[in-house]
């Protein structure tokens, strides 16, 4: 049986819907991972030990266990304790928190690397510790980790395929459905690979744009 890409058009809308879901999950999880990462970094660096410890345990859980397990836990596990999270939300939260932990590690380092003179200047003007952190330190820390956070977001896009296991019809699962009807795995997986690659190119372009914009403020 040779290759036959002519089966694709009939199923293209299913696959493109899948791509749309993948983009939606990636954007949602990226937002969660960005703000979650800032929150976790601030807690790790500045909260009292009683607040810090539970969050450390949380971070350890998310860094030390497979993402797949985390998704199962949020989607299937939480129902048992009465929290019914829809599959899409479970995917966004699971992926988002997972990468929030990684973003937090990056941010902790870059927050500590911001020149002490910056906080001194802000405090001298009368800003409180929190105000100085919010307006002076964190913006600079974020600026310094745009490239590695961008890389995390591309890893996030790729890992979003795992959300298929909890039944979200994202790109990979859509392809599997098309394959189930056509028995044409090679054709559809190549198509899906191309689509991931295109989304990737857009993300890299966005990252470069952000990097260019912050260049002047270095």
């Amino acid at each position: 049986m040779g290759l036959d890409f002519s089966v694709i058009p009939e199923y293209l809308d299913i696959v493109l819907w899948g791509a749309a879901w993948t983009i939606a999950i990636t954007i949602g999880a990226a937002i969660v991972s960005f703000f979650g990462g800032i929150f976790l970094a601030v807690v790790a660096l500045y909260a009292s030990i009683f607040v810090r410890l539970p969050f450390r345990a949380f971070a350890f859980l998310f860094m030390g266990t497979p993402l797949l397990l985390q998704l199962f836990l949020i989607y299937f596990g939480l129902v048992q304790v009465g929290i019914d999270v829809p599959a899409f939300m479970a995917g966004v939260i699971g992926l988002g928190l997972h990468f929030a932990v990684y973003n937090s590690e990056l941010l902790q380092t870059s927050i500590l690397a911001v020149d002490k003179g910056q906080v001194e200047a802000a405090r001298t003007l009368g800003l409180s510790r929190m105000q100085a952190l919010r307006k002076v330190v964190i913006p600079q820390a974020i600026r310094d980790v745009v490239p590695p956070i961008g890389n995390n977001m591309i890893a996030l896009l790729k890992d979003s395929a795992l959300v298929s296991v909890i039944g979200v019809s994202e790109l990979t699962l859509s392809a599997q459905r098309a394959i189930g009807s056509t028995y044409r795995p090679f054709e559809f997986y190549v198509l899906v690979a191309v689509i991931y690659y295109i989304i990737n190119i857009f993300m890299e372009a966005a990252q470069r744009r952000v990097e260019r914009r912050i260049q002047a403020s270095k």
Partner: protein, 257 residues
């Protein structure tokens, strides 16, 4: 000497970092509108004294007063933070390395604190930024980032940023030490202008000729004590203390080398 109540009053200031005693029973009175220079060798405690005034380096003993307000008073932590944040609004500080906020344009460097702390609207804050930047001759650079400025320009913006809070006192910690020689004068000119407007200033400096021209009083510090103080013509032209003489002699030699 005047018997007027001092504007800034530092009494028996003592500061240790661990076992290292950096300030040993320092007393300093500054009158309103007075300009005081602090000179002395590196490591003598000049910065620490200056930074004790706005509590960046809290004293381990002694008192700092601004008018009738005790700056370093004993309060529970959260109340103290509120108190010190208000006090700091009244004390401008200029650093050797400028410490401008690199992620903000010149305009936002100046408007950040007034907007956050005094609740100025965008329009009011912009007007304030323009006024202050005009004063230091930096209005044309209002939409630049700090990285696009020379050192002298950065320091002038830093002065405008401090002035925008309308402080009662300005503290300068070697404001021109990090500058290329040809950029020193533009910053000195701004400081002279402030002097003419009778801004109360405490200036840590290595520039003796500037100190002599601008200041009303000079303190010579060495190893955490005020060795000698007096009017500039006495300290620079006719010092009594041998350590002062030695320091000035070495310093002049170094400058001419």
């Amino acid at each position: 000497m005047t018997d007027q109540k001092p504007f800034i009053d530092i009494r028996h200031a003592q500061k240790s970092f661990g076992t290292l005693e950096v300030l040993k029973d320092i007393n300093l009175q500054v009158q309103k509108g007075q300009i005081v220079a602090i000179i002395g060798p590196s490591g003598s405690g000049k910065s620490t004294l200056l930074r004790a005034i706005n509590d960046l380096d809290p004293l381990t003993g002694g008192e700092v007063w601004l008018e009738d307000k005790r700056i370093n008073k004993t309060l529970p932590h959260s109340q103290y933070e509120k108190h010190i944040n208000l006090v700091r609004q009244e004390i401008g500080m200029v650093f050797q390395h400028f410490n401008l906020f690199p992620h903000l344009k010149v305009r936002e460097n100046v408007t950040l604190a007034p907007k956050m702390l005094k609740g100025l609207s965008g329009t009011e804050a912009n007007k304030l930024a323009e006024e202050q930047l005009e004063k230091v001759g930096m209005l044309e650079r209002i939409d630049y980032y700090p990285s696009q400025l020379s050192g002298g320009q950065k320091q002038r913006v830093a002065i405008a940023r401090a002035l925008a809070m309308n402080p009662k006192v300005m503290l300068f910690d070697e404001a021109t030490s990090a500058l290329d020689p040809e950029l020193v004068e533009e910053v000195n000119l701004v400081m002279k202008k402030l002097a003419q407007e009778h801004m109360t200033m405490i200036i840590v400096t290595h520039e003796m000729s500037f100190a002599e021209a601008v200041c009303d009083k000079v303190l010579f510090m060495d190893q955490g004590v005020v060795v000698e103080e007096g009017p500039p013509e006495v300290i620079f032209r006719n010092p009594k203390n041998d350590r002062t003489k030695e320091f000035l002699r070495k310093h002049l030699a170094g400058q001419n080398a």
